[in-house]
């Protein structure tokens, strides 16, 4: 186990290094003159030179890269080129919207995927199972932004139950209102991600159903469904854990689009705004934080899987 943690940990660190290099290369090296890019075409050469010096862009690229990474390790994510504000502080503030949104989306996705996925597997070959499978296929093809619009139409425009957009100015000091404004966005991401997860659950359940121990349980006199539920489902739980990393990546991507649609002040909307204004220092740190998060979740999921599954532990 310790050996596995070390090897997997080395892969994680390699992943973080490769991501940071790729992001740095794309944002700082390929564009050529970053100062000119930021200042725009109207800036005078003197202004561009001043900007270059104030940003430290005149120093060698490896030094700039090491300085960025060194700052990250000390918890300093740099400062915005436009406002001079600390990127780390802003990220922490925005995370108060994005993290609860992500958790709510994940919970909704699992609540949809597990019961319906198992039902679709149990009902396989019957009309209900086919309808459920087709529903999951169709939902997985829906653009997440359109799903959000349709939910706004139903729950805000027609029924008037939930606010169509926005996050309370008072934030989490009014928890009821905050949760209310995150409900539709989380439902949107949860439904679309849940549809994809449901297909995994269905095939995992079908696989569990053909295992010898489920067949033995059925042979001992349990009904097929009972045998599957009491002996097969724990095995399904394991395979869901393995795709959880994928789900987290999907939720991050979904939140970028959905925060824009619902005008939520989260990390995704911050990234979109900074890409729009070409605040490259902010974009570079934000991208690394997001990809780093995906990589770390992948690492934890692998460790969790290893710890829970005894077959994996022994091999």
């Amino acid at each position: 186990m310790i050996r596995y943690v070390l090897v997997r940990g080395a892969l994680l660190i390699a992943g973080l290094l490769v991501s940071s290099l790729l992001i740095f290369l794309t944002l700082r090296v390929f564009p050529g003159d970053v100062a000119q890019l930021i200042a725009g075409t109207q800036a005078s050469p003197a202004e561009v030179q001043a900007l270059r010096e104030s940003l430290g862009l005149d120093r060698p690229l490896p030094a700039q890269y090491l300085e960025w990474i060194g700052g990250l390790l000390r918890g300093d994510l740099g400062t915005s080129l436009l406002s001079g504000a600390s990127v780390g502080e802003e990220l922490l503030l925005k995370a108060q919207v994005t993290v609860p949104l992500g958790i709510m989306s994940l919970v909704i996705a699992v609540l949809i995927a597990v019961p319906f996925g198992i039902l679709a597997a149990v009902q396989r070959g019957r009309r209900g199972g086919a309808a459920l499978s087709f529903g999951a296929q169709a939902l997985a093809a829906v653009p997440v932004v359109w799903a959000g619009m349709m939910l706004i139409v139903v729950f805000s425009v027609w029924l008037g139950w939930l606010p169509p957009q926005g996050f309370p100015r008072t934030g989490w000091s009014t928890p009821g209102k905050a949760v209310e404004s995150l409900l539709l966005p989380a439902l949107t991401i949860g439904i679309v991600e849940g549809a994809m997860l449901m297909r995994f659950v269905r095939s995992a359940t079908l696989q569990a159903a053909t295992q010898d121990f489920v067949r033995t349980a059925a042979a001992k006199g349990l009904t097929r469904t009972r045998a599957l539920v009491s002996h097969g489902i724990p095995a399904v739980g394991l395979s869901i854990i393995t795709v959880l990393g994928l789900q987290v990546a999907g939720i991050i991507v979904g939140s970028v689009v959905i925060e824009q649609l619902f005008t939520l002040p989260g990390i995704g909307r911050m990234l979109v705004a900074d890409v729009g204004t070409r605040d490259l220092v902010k974009v570079q740190s934000e991208l690394l934080v997001l990809t780093g998060f995906v990589l770390i979740v992948g690492f934890l999921v692998d460790l969790l899987h290893r710890t829970i599954d005894p077959r994996q532990r022994e091999s």
Partner: protein, 289 residues
Amino acid sequence: MMPRWLPRLWQTPTGRFGLIVVAVVAATALVSVFWTPFDPQFSDVRARWSPPGWPHLLGTDDTGRDILSVLMAGARTTVFVSVGAGVIATLVGIALSALGALTARWMRETVAVLVDILIAFPVLLIAMMISSVWGGSLWVVIWSVGIGFGVNIARVTRPELRRVQQSDFVLAARASGLTSGQSLVRHLLPNVAPVFIVQLSWSMAVAVLAEAGLSYLGFGASVVDPSWGLLLSDLQRYIGVHPLSVIWPGLAITITVLALNLLGDGLREATDPTLRHRAAETHTPAVVA
């Protein structure tokens, strides 16, 4: 010569649905070059927000553009983006899986680790990275999906390529004097092609979704391009007053993506002999469930 799996693809219901819809979208894109009911760029202010009916079958938008015409012209953008992303994904996929399967050991393992790392990069983040430097355009969509899905393709085809490379007939070909480049073209690629086209179909579905999302965020199609994603974001601003008009572009995207996904599923079923075998098994009485 027609590949043997093509008729089999037509026999699977998913493959047939996929083929028909993809053909319809491609035909619509072609027709829209010569004819659309109205000019998709022309705004008729007197006909703003016409409900669906005659002559505007799907109604008009806030500037009086005919929604059906914009959708037809938008099919061109969809075809362009999905084919472009498919081509890039193929090239990236072939290059990475060849590097990861056919070269020296240290190179193979480096590429394998690199592919494992790159796979964690979501396509949307790649797109944001590219557009923060070069600005948004349809090419951003094409490159980001192409690179992102090319890595996916490499992950699936690399082990397959390695398996074929070690098979006896390839060894025999090498022994009778074929260079590794010749054997790649003559033996290896044709044998992994089925795995490849399945992935290709799925990557085109991702491209259509990515175009919608990125154009919505303002990093995809420019204002002059007719695009389903852009139409969606135009109509969204009036969702409180005219909620039903957003249905059309969303439906167009969903059906196209569904068709490409199902086409991929159908291709997999038609080309993978083990899956065909399993499908045959379902006709025998199942022991459980």
